[in-house]
Symmetry: C2
Subunit: 739 residues, 2 copies
């Protein structure tokens, strides 16, 4: 773990490239730095000297009267490397590099950036950026950015400055109180040295930080990111992540914005599941998540009670909860009777619970209804929706009772320890202020209230016990894989030779006949079926009995040994398109037929060898696909799905970071829309889940041991009521970047 | 069409049940009525007379000095029928029945309600409610509700009073200007006489109304509702519908709130598609839709350009648009060059278009970029996202240019005739005010901005040419079908005998073995396969050649006639569970086997008859399910989906109001996730879409002619590259309500 003390709590700070010109960063950073009395020594450095913000500027870092802890570098790219050298010579242990036009701009800039990082690291210092907007820490009074941020307890780590302005404005608008803003702000920039993960780890022990909000287009070392998020979760500090790139255009935007390599959406989701990160998609969702997560209660399940005084609001709230995946269960008759007693006879008690008018007679009925709901074990949370907050306005006599109701509700929430979220037409009312004051999340829009509740359902902590560490050789490096880099850079407008990714013989065949890529062409290597089967068998995955046959003599030996029972399958190997060429023959029932098929294969196709296999019984079978792709940031990402053409068209697949435990493998399989086919539907026998889970775990483990596999796919696995057998497999080995 | 003039523009108004007690509706309605000088004669009636709001109350309607046009009835349920009689006697041509505790409460109330409606209709008058909160019309100055509403051009028709309060408060908060509120408000109540559709039709010719917002738990006559919405769409008046019930709990809430029968979610969606209604799910979405739809431009496709000065905002906006189903296409090189010229070389021009800093040098660059985007035919709309609105704040010198940019943007939008929606961090700034003033929708949250744009994509107007009228006998009536009513009332806590719905022999078998329903039981009739096949064949749907065989002699005659070619299928009819009992035998290859199978079926199963059919060739086949269910509100609703167990598990189905045109049938089939299976995937031959579309249209037409069919299902239809043949079918006839 890097020591970030000199960065967040330096004894002295210098700004190199300080300026009196208001349009320059060197001005705004200096102005912010000086705006708060901190007891720190502050030095402004400008090679022309002169007066800046009422201070005489030093011409060189070497002129400073004492060593300096932290230097902010605001000079142009051409002077960057000198400024880094001078800073280290002046004793700097932390550098904040505002300078842009380096790694994000071109190869020359990247070279300078690498050189600077080498200097910084060998001096034992740390560097933020370059191409960043600065750093603040409200717990130490450090303001080293162009904007002041209101102090609070959320650490904001961001690759976009505008996104933080958006976020802070929303925090002010949307319910976070003035004391609940930003504990630390870090503009991540190019993350050339210190990256988002380092800041996350530092926040684990930062007392002033109670939650971490991240805008990241590129999380760099994905496994370290997940570890850091787990550490924050264990420290009780929620992490909320806004990571763009769920669309092609979003990824394109990120690539041209920061040159970032965004991981695929399902990979980010898998990482969030593995670490308890709350993922959001807009700044507003991020603020809503922070508001929800700052109250201490979580729902043990997705079962929500709705309490309202107005049937319309109850119905609309129920639909909103349904849309975010929550459940509004029908309540038991016993609970209904209790609710009727605490409300009145007209009240509807089936859930939504509708006071049906008792609210305007007696606002305290809300508190009684809420207590009855929360005391039962039939709901894990309550959404209060609609008119509460408005009674005093229509009838002054209700002002006192409504506030008392608010106080009672706040008490009940505390005692019950279950989350309550409020939607109200009257967010500015006194009784609602009581609820807000007690930390109850309040929303004007029922859709946002429902989404906030969804954020509070406890995630499956069990998955956090999945292994995350990979063998040292298997750690993905922040450097970008060739294909991914080419794709990101092409999107950003950089020309590459015509190319195509070929994953199967069929793909290659299609490509060759399409003439998209002219000759000469450079092929992608691929491991052939026999080798893939062998590697995966070694990993514990069951394949049918099989043998390699090269000659009629081999076949005779095999048949006389009876090592493989009939019916057989024969596959001619070493062909570009074995299926289309008739190179796979199923259901070979006897020796005569076997000899005939072999002779025919040899005559027609001249295969290198023929694989003879026992044909798998398809009785009651479901075809399953299990694979793993090596993500350049997150390493091996497991994919499971139902196989066959229909399932493929439906894209019914689920992802997790590999390797996975048996529990996670089982969860993934059950999360498929088509899961009923596995567990038994329309009277079908359930397939042997334990065997199938074993295959999934084995593939995930094999993939994790093999950074040299870009992709492994076992497809199909024939899952039956009595077992799970792989009948085809493919491995695509890593290709060295040969740009 | 009902004449609603006496309701919305009466010459005189009386309130029966007027009260001096501020807690009573008779007070608030009277107070509102008197609050606006309207030149109308206003009479307050209270059987005890006395002084109310400074006026002497009449003791009886009979005492009024002149006939009265409109009477608001605020008396308790017990006095309701007398008040109706007195009102009609006093000359009333319109009644607003505030009185609650009638049809929504119990059978006795429903009887009173029916009697009142009969009186009103025979007098040629109209009645709103009962159980309603009143009516207002800002164009005639009529205020007959408990709350005043700000005048505007949106007609609000609602089954919930609180929902309208919510909506109006949001209109004030969220961007609708003060003059853009409510033209008419109608609290629909029980819709015993005048229903939502009548008010919609009246709004077609109401000059002050430019859009119609509906909160409806029950739209009553669904076909009339669709017709009315089409009429409004043709008049250029958008309709926005908030209809709860997309979840079980939402339907339960509606049932206990207004006793409403909510139609299934997919039925409501089908009705909205058929009529161009914009469906929303929360009050906030409704206000956003109204704001978006009041500007005149629509997007001809879902292709959106993003313009931003900040890569993070561009990426997040792209993801947000993707999530609402819009497309952010990569722009052509030609357009990229043009954009580069109007911006600067650093700008990213691939879409998202990122000014990359030129905005803070020159805010007019926004206008140039926007013009270049909108002038091209590569995008149909633009989302402007992020920092615009904030330049003047950081640099006063930019205040003038930023406002000029706003003015230019407003001009460009007008000229281009394409919609532009804005997301900004600075919604209160002067330049944003210019955009708002020009009618450009502005949002603080990018998620809402994206959703607003999605609302502006032109819907397929072609579907509005689908027939909506049903044969007179086929019109669904507002009265509730037994099964639906039982379900709604059970959910609301009313006890019914144990029951189960049985749709197939298998269902019945399951039920009988489960012992859920004890004996004696009353069965649901069902039309047998042979009769269903005959009805559907008559409707033009192709079945395999077939013949009914009752004896060996029949079979001999059939075989010697060679009317049906081999292979054959035999189905033993008249059995409870023909498949399980081995009553269906496939692939009968010759006469010997045919005779043997027939003899065996007769011996084992004693079927009433045996259906002998030509076996359908499954080569290249996809199984499709086509059916229709009779919705109690909307009549026949067509369903198409892919058949087979996997497709069933995936719930890959699409719905439309029946009957449908060939165009709609084709659209439905193509909308299935599994559509690639129909159109050819992985080298499969495409199936004969024309034949399949014919089957879908024929089923939809047959269903529409048969209100006596609760459900018809043709499953499977075997769709192949050369045709589409039905091989099984079932019809469930209507069951008279026999409670």
């Amino acid at each position: 773990m890097r020591d970030l003390t000199p960065l967040f709590d330096p004894r002295s700070v210098a700004v190199v490239g300080a300026s009196a010109d208001r349009a320059k960063w060197g001005y705004s950073v200096s102005e912010q730095l000086l705006s708060l009395p901190s007891g720190r020594d502050i030095y402004l450095v400008n090679r022309r000297g002169g007066d800046i913000l009422g201070r005489t500027a030093f011409r060189n870092l070497a002129d400073l009267p004492a060593p300096v802890d932290l230097v902010a570098i605001c000079v142009p790219a051409s002077g960057f490397l000198d400024a880094v050298r001078d800073s280290l010579a002046a004793g700097a242990r932390a550098l904040v590099a505002i300078t842009a036009g380096l790694g994000e701009a071109d190869a020359e800039g990247e070279k300078i950036e690498r050189e600077a990082v080498a200097l910084v690291r060998s001096a034992g210092a740390v560097l933020v950026g370059p191409n960043c907007l600065g750093v603040t820490d409200s717990s130490t009074g450090l303001r080293l950015a162009s904007d002041p941020f209101r102090p609070g307890d959320v650490a904001v780590l961001s690759q976009s400055g505008n996104m933080v302005l958006d976020l802070e404005a929303l925090m002010a608008d949307e319910g976070l109180e003035i004391e609940d803003h930003i504990s630390r702000f870090v503009s991540l920039g190019n993350q050339a040295d210190v990256a988002v993960t380092d800041f996350m780890l530092d926040c684990v022990g930062h007392d002033a930080t109670h939650a971490v909000a991240i805008y990241a287009e590129d999380v760099m070392d994905g496994r370290a990111f997940v570890q850091a998020a787990r550490a924050l979760a264990e420290a009780g500090k929620p992490v909320v992540l806004l990571a763009p790139g769920s669309s092609d255009a979003g990824r394109r935007g990120a690539a041209s914005h920061t040159g970032s390599l965004t991981s695929a959406d399902n990979v980010i989701d898998a990482a969030c599941t593995a670490s308890g990160i709350h993922r959001v998609h807009t700044p507003l969702q991020m603020v809503d998540a922070l508001v929800a997560l700052r109250q201490p209660f979580r729902a043990a399940s997705g079962r929500v009670g709705i309490l309202t005084d107005g049937g319309g609001h109850g119905s609309v709230a129920a639909d909103s909860l349904h849309r975010v995946g929550l459940d509004v269960p029908l309540l038991s008759a016993e609970l209904g009777v209790k609710l009727s007693r605490s409300l009145w006879s007209q009240s509807s008690v089936s859930n939504p619970v509708d006071l049906a008018g008792i609210g305007e007679q007696d606002p305290l009925s809300y508190a009684r209804g809420l207590r009855t709901l929360l005391d039962s074990d039939e709901v894990a949370a309550v959404l209060l929706t609609g008119y509460f907050g408005g009674y005093a306005q229509t009838n002054e006599a209700l002002a006192g009772p409504e506030i008392r109701a608010g106080e009672q509700i706040a008490d009940i929430v505390r005692t019950a320890g279950k989350p309550v979220v409020v939607h109200t037409i009257f967010p500015e009312s006194d009784s609602i202020a009581v609820l807000r004051g007690a930390g109850v999340p309040v929303h004007r829009d029922v859709g946002r209230a429902a989404a906030a509740l969804a954020m509070l359902v406890e995630t499956d902590v069990q998955v956090r016990s999945d292994p995350i560490d990979l063998p040292p050789s298997g750690r993905p490096t922040p450097s970008v894989d060739y294909v991914a880099a080419r794709s990101a850079l092409s999107d950003a407008g950089i020309a590459f030779p015509r190319s195509a990714i070929v994953k199967s013989e069929q793909d290659l065949d299609d490509l060759l006949s399409s003439a998209v890529v002219g000759f000469p062409r450079r092929p992608t290597p691929s491991v052939d079926y026999v080798a893939a089967r062998s590697a995966l068998s070694d990993a514990g995955i069951a394949f049918p009995r099989s043998a390699i046959v090269k000659s009629e003599q081999d076949l005779d030996d095999l048949l006389s040994s009876a090592a493989i029972g009939f019916p057989l399958v024969m596959k001619a190997m070493g062909l570009l398109h074995k299926s289309d060429a008739g190179g796979v023959v199923l259901d070979i029932a006897d020796e005569v037929r076997a000899r005939a098929v072999f002779a025919d294969l040899v005559r027609r196709l001249q295969p290198s060898v023929v694989s003879v296999e026992q044909m798998v019984d398809h009785e009651g079978a479901v075809e399953v696909i299990v694979g793993s792709t090596w993500d350049p940031r997150f390493g091996p990402v497991l994919m499971v799905g139902l196989g066959g053409v229909l399932a493929e068209v439906m894209e019914d697949v689920a992802f997790a970071l590999a390797p996975v435990t048996h529990a996670t493998a089982s969860r993934l399989l059950h999360s498929l829309r088509g899961a009923p086919l596995l567990t038994g539907v329309r009277g079908r026998a359930p397939i042997d889940m334990s065997a199938l889970v074993d295959v999934v775990v084995a593939v995930s483990e094999a993939a994790s041991r093999h950074p040299d596999w870009v992709e492994v796919e076992v497809n199909p696995v024939i899952a039956t009521p009595t077992g799970a057998v792989a009948v085809d497999a493919r491995i695509i080995p890593a290709q060295r970047n040969s740009l």
